[in-house]
Amino acid sequence: MKGLLRELREYPVRWKALQEVMKNSTMRGALESAMARFAQNRDRAIQEWGDFKAWVEEWKIKKAKALVKGDQLWAGVSRCLEERGGKLFIASDARAAREYIGKVAQASGGHLVVKGKSITSEEIELNPFLNSLGLEVVETDLGERIIQLAGEKPSHLIVPAIHKTKEEVAAIFSEAWGREVPADPYLITKEVRKDLRTRFLSACTGITGINVVAADIPAFFLMTNEGNGRLCATLPSTQIILTGWEKIVETVEDAFAILDILPKNSVGLKYSSYLSVFTGLFPWKKGRSLHVVVLDNGRRSALEDPVLREALRCIRCGACMNVCPVYKTVGGHTFAHIYMGGIGAAWTAITGKLKDAREVAALCTGCGTCLEVCPMGIPIPTLVERVRELCKEGGEAERLAVELVSRRNVLGAIAGMTSMVAPREIRNLPGPAKAITQERVLEKPQRPPFHPWALSHGLEVGRGGKATLYVGCMAEFIYPDIGRDVVELFKALHIPIQIMEEECCGLPARVIGNHDNWRRLARKNLDSIPPGKPLIFLCATCLSAFQEYGKGGLALPEAYMLSQFILKRLGPNGFPGRFKGRVAYHFPCHLERHLGIKREPLDLLKKVEGVDLVEGEEAHLCCGGAGLYAFKCPPIAGEILKKKLEWLEREKVDVLVTSCPSCIMQLRGGVIKRKMSVKVMHIGTFILESLKGMEKTDLKKIKRTMG
């Protein structure tokens, strides 16, 4: 209770802080255009390269196999390295790694350490520790050097100082060097080359991370574009390689396969400028030493976790961040704790900081855009859910909210009360809740709910239909008109329909990690499904939850989204509907990325005569609603929503169709707030309207009906 009150008190503080972050328009502009460029280049490079999906399937298995053998592979590497005169140290935790590296660096005979970019070194907080030993650490990657001098943290995995303008960068170096530096990337780079060259040549210790380790040679592979990595590794007499325990693969062929896809998937680069391969043999330099520090720090025990283990396959290409709507909105300082983005939540948890991990996890919408670009097939949204499940601290308000909405009777009571007292649209919530209605209004729940209406209109539970309708909570209490339209549609299509006793699909409980509740709801729903009839869903989220039941080994009948079912019924036939206007389709995240339905809704819309279909990559962006997310992180949800609405404005869309009532709540809320003329409709409603269009096709009529 105390925690709950604290959270409610902190809630406005939190979103105010987020709003501050988002106000920094230079950062956001730079970040967004950079991410868009990376993502575009990546798509092009991958398309040209080959069969991405097949690669993912192969590597999911291959890398998992290498990880299971990890200890054995490292033991072999260690033996071989020692024969070659190097040393391998397995550090059980951050402290052990820091102390070992500190000792080696101190023994190198000098106080200057040059360093290549390494997120693993950030994980163990290496630099401050080495400083405390009296060592001077110089980051040599240009971006890392900029933020080191600025005293900041990287905001992107590949371009750490992407949030800085050239003027800011010039100011940073002007201060560091005590002379005026022009705001010119070329000139700054040349000056940095000169400055760091002297340090490369005088440093006694060089520390780098590593991209991949091939156990069979054994060989260590390091990729950079600037060429700083190879200088760090070869010029100083003491070389330290810091690598995560998970970086190992079995063969050199495997290593090259990963290095082939890494730069392409990362920023669309065919190959990085420099790939250095070290074997630990440096016969020409007497007194040279190589130390390989292999960091465990929770990785080996993560291997025991059925879900978190999947994160260990990560090759740190950063592609997931480049497409993440939340990352693009708030950047890598907010959506991170050292490790960034959704995958960062998992890595923060793996490396032992569960509470910090939960903070990161809280910002993920679960949209799954990352799923399409991860070369290792890591189910990032599932990992985020796992983090929420593992961390019992915090998130009490969220837990309470989910507890309430997952109970139909409670939700019904809340909806009923709200519909009695609230105006048709809540335009501005007061006080701390203001942010929720910043970019959208809240429509009040319609009366009566769907099931009472359906029962009084001749529909029966589990009887009399050729198919069973599952409407879900949103169409039950907030938008029962969707349910009514679908019933009418089926009547028009001459398909008898029945209903079932419904519980919440359980997804809200699952995404916050409340698995007891999730299982309870799953079992109840499964028990209520009438046998032998296909199930039809109006909400992509609900269907994806039901499919998850199936993965748990429970038998599911055939289940379809409404659009799939109608399309299947129509077969190759045309559709009698007609509608004149510009129509766009919003792909709900659960439909496209969790269920993998990419074609059917568009195919169905195309069958309607007169539809001028507006397509574009914006159709696939998350709307920011994400169930309770829009209430939990309203400033981010609002920013994400804006992009969708701006697209509709740009394209002069008349009707936006979608297949998820929760998205409708967000999208229509935004449309009303902006006083836009576009209508937001469920696909069931739209198809029904197109049938009405048989008699008289014009938008006015649609508007009247919808109004």
Binding site: A30, A34, R37, T140, D141, L142, G143, I146, V159, P160, A161, I162, K164, T165, K166, V169, P185, Y186, I188, T189, K190, V192, R193, L196, R197, F200, L201, A214, I217, A219, N225, E226, G227, N228, R230, L231, T234, V252, E253, F256, A257, D260, K270, Y271, S272, S273, Y274, L275, S276, V277, F278, T279, G280, L281, F282, P283, W284, K285
Partner: protein, 174 residues
């Protein structure tokens, strides 16, 4: 892929990554290419590794041009080393080092000129590099794979070459 196709593919990728390529026809074409490079890059001093094919020819020409041959690699304008292989699909050069000097020559000077034998060109970087890691007498100590010049986009994504490595990469295929 036959040799000419392979070379064509390699040329495309190598040039796309920012490299400048010359396929040797005869002695005079080599000289012409080198003289142009020396002028364009304003080369005054150079260092050259022992195992570079065409070693003699290059030294003779550079002597005639009045370039200073140096064994001190910091501040050198041009480093010349042998590429022991290349991968066509990414335009990548493979360097293996037996001597420290050779690897300094590829990484420290402002401009890097590599010389490669045609038969060392392979389809991909793994084809070109793996034999050196699986060599019968054990792996080569250190292998450096180079694709174009040193580059960065760390300041506002502005493309700048020559950060810590060479700002220009030239290749003669013999």
């Amino acid at each position: 892929m036959d040799e000419s196709q392979l070379l064509l593919r390699f040329k495309r990728e190598f040039e796309a990554s920012g490299g400048v390529l010359h396929v040797l026809k005869d002695r005079s074409s080599l000289n012409e290419f080198l003289i142009q490079m020396v002028k364009k890059e304003n080369v005054k001093s150079y260092g050259i590794s022992q195992d570079v094919p065409l070693n003699k020819e290059i030294n003779t020409l550079f002597k005639d041009l009045g370039l200073e041959r140096s064994k001190e690699y910091t501040g050198l304008d041009l480093g010349i080393t042998r590429a022991h292989g290349a991968g066509a699909s990414t335009g990548t050069l493979v360097f293996v080092f037996k001597e420290e000097n050779d690897h300094l020559l590829t990484s420290l000077p402002r401009v890097h000129l590599a010389v490669m034998m045609m038969e060392d060109l392979k389809e991909s970087v793994s084809h070109a590099a793996i034999p050196y890691l699986r060599a019968p007498r054990g792996p080569y100590p250190y292998i450096s794979l180079v694709t174009g010049p040193s580059r960065t986009g760390d300041i506002e994504l502005t493309h700048v070459t020559g950060v810590h490595g060479p700002e220009k990469l030239y290749l003669v295929v013999s």
